[in-house]
């Protein structure tokens, strides 16, 4: 227990204190205490910065796309896997769909470039067939759907794990009984599967909402320049370029803190809404 407590104190609660630099004009060689206090200046500057709002808007757009298209995908895949009767086949497919999760984003993005890039496989095939090429990677309009597709490809399989575990809790007798009563597959899903795993879905949904503004730093940083900042700057890359690259640590920290606060508010709200509907939510 003690090592765990020390771990959390040091690496999780301790660093919270670092958020203090969001209120300072932080300079590394002046140190943590020596840097001047600037009060809310970083925040007033931030809220007046059009680039920040553009990044926030992009983040929200990508988050919504992920919520609509990525969040249900593992559930669908889990149902599909669950319905397989051959255990051996299920294990093989499970292993295959888990694999992409273990690839780093650098590899996934490089593969996407090799296949969909302007000189990639797809466009080479088009041009050798005498057709017009389409620049998928560099098109700002396609950037957001593309990132969501990449996320689905990479993490959909991994996301099935919890759903599959939840699906094993469903009492098979209920399926049999309802089948005898004449319920089709859709009815069985709606009246048996879904109510059983609903708390899990809601739990994951609330967790996802808390984390919603983290839409994938590495993935997007790697592809930001191809699509341009207008479409591809998100809060995390904004923090990176301002804080780490630009050396405006206080300003970057302010943007990061803003993101954390919004995430916290969203979780509390989502949890309260869940309670109102009689669900357990994440915490009581």
């Amino acid at each position: 227990m003690v090592p765990g407590v020390i771990y959390f104190l040091t690496f999780h609660y301790g660093v919270f204190f670092g958020n203090i630099i969001a209120f300072k004009d932080y300079v590394p060689f002046d140190g943590f205490w020596g840097s001047a206090w600037v009060g809310g200046k970083n925040f007033t500057d931030l809220f007046g910065d059009a680039d920040f709002w553009r990044a926030a808007l992009n983040t929200v757009e990508i988050a919504c796309l992920q919520l609509i298209f990525f969040f249900p995908a593992p559930l669908a895949l889990a149902l599909l896997l669950h319905s397989l009767t051959s255990n051996a086949l299920r294990r093989v497919i499970q292993s295959i769909v888990y694999l992409p999760h273990f690839m780093s984003w650098v590899i996934v993005v490089a593969m996407a470039q090799q296949v969909l890039g302007a000189t990639g496989l797809f466009n080479s095939a088009l041009s050798s067939a005498g057709l017009h090429t389409v620049d998928i990677i560099g098109d700002p309009d396609l950037f957001k759907p593309l990132t969501v597709l990449q996320v689905i490809w990479k993490d959909c399989g991994w996301g099935t794990i919890i759903f599959l575990a939840a699906l094993t809790q469903v009492d098979d007798q209920l399926y049999e009984a309802s089948a005898i009563d004449g319920a089709g597959p859709w009815r069985r899903f709606w009246h048996i599967t879904l109510p059983t795993i609903r708390p899990i879905i809601l739990l994951l949904l609330i967790m996802k909402i808390g984390d919603i503004l983290s839409v994938g730093f590495e993935q997007i940083l790697l592809q930001r320049d191809a699509a341009g900042a207008q479409a591809a700057e998100i809060i995390d890359t904004f923090v990176y370029y301002q804080g780490i690259i630009g050396g405006n640590y206080g300003y970057g920290a302010a943007a990061g803190l803003f993101k954390g606060v919004v995430g916290a508010i969203l979780v509390f709200t989502a949890n309260r809404v869940a309670h109102r509907f009689g669900e357990q939510g994440v915490y009581k």
Partner: protein, 552 residues
Amino acid sequence: MPEISRRTLLRSIGVASAAVAAPTLLTSCSTSGSGGSASNRGADLAPWPTYIPKTGPAPDLKGDPKTGVQDAYLTYPDKLTKGTSGVPGDGSTLKVMTVTFGVTPKPEAQNKYWQAMEKALGVKIDFTTVPAADFQSKLATVMAGNDLPDVLNLAGSANIAREGEFIVKTMANLSDFLSGDAIKDYPNLANIPTESWKGVGRFHGGIYGIPIHRPRPVTALWINGTSFEKQGYRLGDSDYSRDDFTEIVSSLTRGKRYGTGASKDNPFGWWAHAQAHGVPNTWSHSNGKFTSYFESDRFEEMLSYLNSLWKKKLYFPESTSISGVDLTTRFYNGTVQSYMGGFSAYLTTLKMVHGFDAMPMTPYAPKGITPANWASKGYFGYTVINKKMSTSKIKMVLRVLDHLASPFGTEEYQRMHYGVEGVHFTYNKDGDPMPTKLGGTENITNLPFYYLCDAPQVLYVPGAQSGIRSLHAWEKQVCPGMVNDASAGLRSATYSTRWATLARGIDDSITAIVTGRQPLSSWGAAAKKFKSGGGGKIAEEYAEEYAANSAK
């Protein structure tokens, strides 16, 4: 189902935002204080180090120190001289840190190049090499850990917030050792041209940084000379027009080959095209006022030209997304026929290119415009020494740096640049030191001693005679009439905190306009945003600094 407490959840969200602040917590132990500005306003200015040029071996092609054309050597000197006497070090260990563009070097115990250098210098070198992109965060970490190295090189490309204040607060003032005639104790440092010292500038009146010399040319449009010449290009043509360039680039774009290319490091290689379009160097000065090149009225014309090249699909299609390294690889293998690169890239390019002649291009001239060739600030980066060192230690470090600055044609230069004969290089039939297989991994690229201190550069690459000839001819054409950056050696606090962000904003706008995502008319707003976001303040600070520096 397990219940999660509100706290646990808070933490899982907080981690992301706190991560940015994480390395900073450690700084709480370091000392503090405010002020300490590096501005030269109201400071006593130390005189520049006296320039005492050394005579090296007679060059094959003579340079001209007035215009900045370098001495060029087609063959390696057959008789080496000694650049220093005795061993400079005192047997202690020096912790050093520089930027690197190579790969992680082999550890000292297995690295014969490292060992040979230590033996010659008489010190153990504890070398930390940091990739350029990580330099700023690495430096923040060593500051936080109160673990600054003894000798540090700040590359010009590294953007250190509050750079000047950092130097004044943590690094030693070297004026007593280097200013005026004091530098005579270090004859190889006295051989570094005054322009380079001025480029680094003073910090609150004092001399803190020793420049790593660079020649006048700073960037070049590198071309595949063999294919360009087939299309009628001649180096030195004085009436080489923009239409000629467009025509050559279009006729070279065939199948999987592209007339030109760029990387995300400098969108569309606009630095080269800005020079061709007569856009002045980064900062210009007139009547006590500073203006940035973004305010030039030629900028829009350049953007519209680049947009036309992009629309005609003459750029390598992945130009907005590939890295600088990937771009040069594509230039070496012939996919990309021209690109904007650093002039000093010739040191690698002439070694790497086989099968065609790589050369810098005579800037093309749009109708009615005289190209403005930009001059460098005379240095790559500068080396500073930790304030905590005693006077005798500082003198020892300066002797070590003096040894590293031994000029071309000395034994010291050969060891540092090419390694040990028979181990890292062998002489070819013309007497050029050519790297051995071991020299391919144990070398100055991976263990960059030349970023601690180096001799003034001369034009020489082993076994690259024709390449050196065209470089020299090109320099003779572009160096006279080069335009300086008026901000060289001037301190601006706003520059060091805002420039990286502002320049990125500009690069984003350039990319959007050239690819046609935004109209050309949006450029005015981008330039205005630069000015109001800090560009204007930088100009004011430079003007004040300029006045302070020219007071004496």
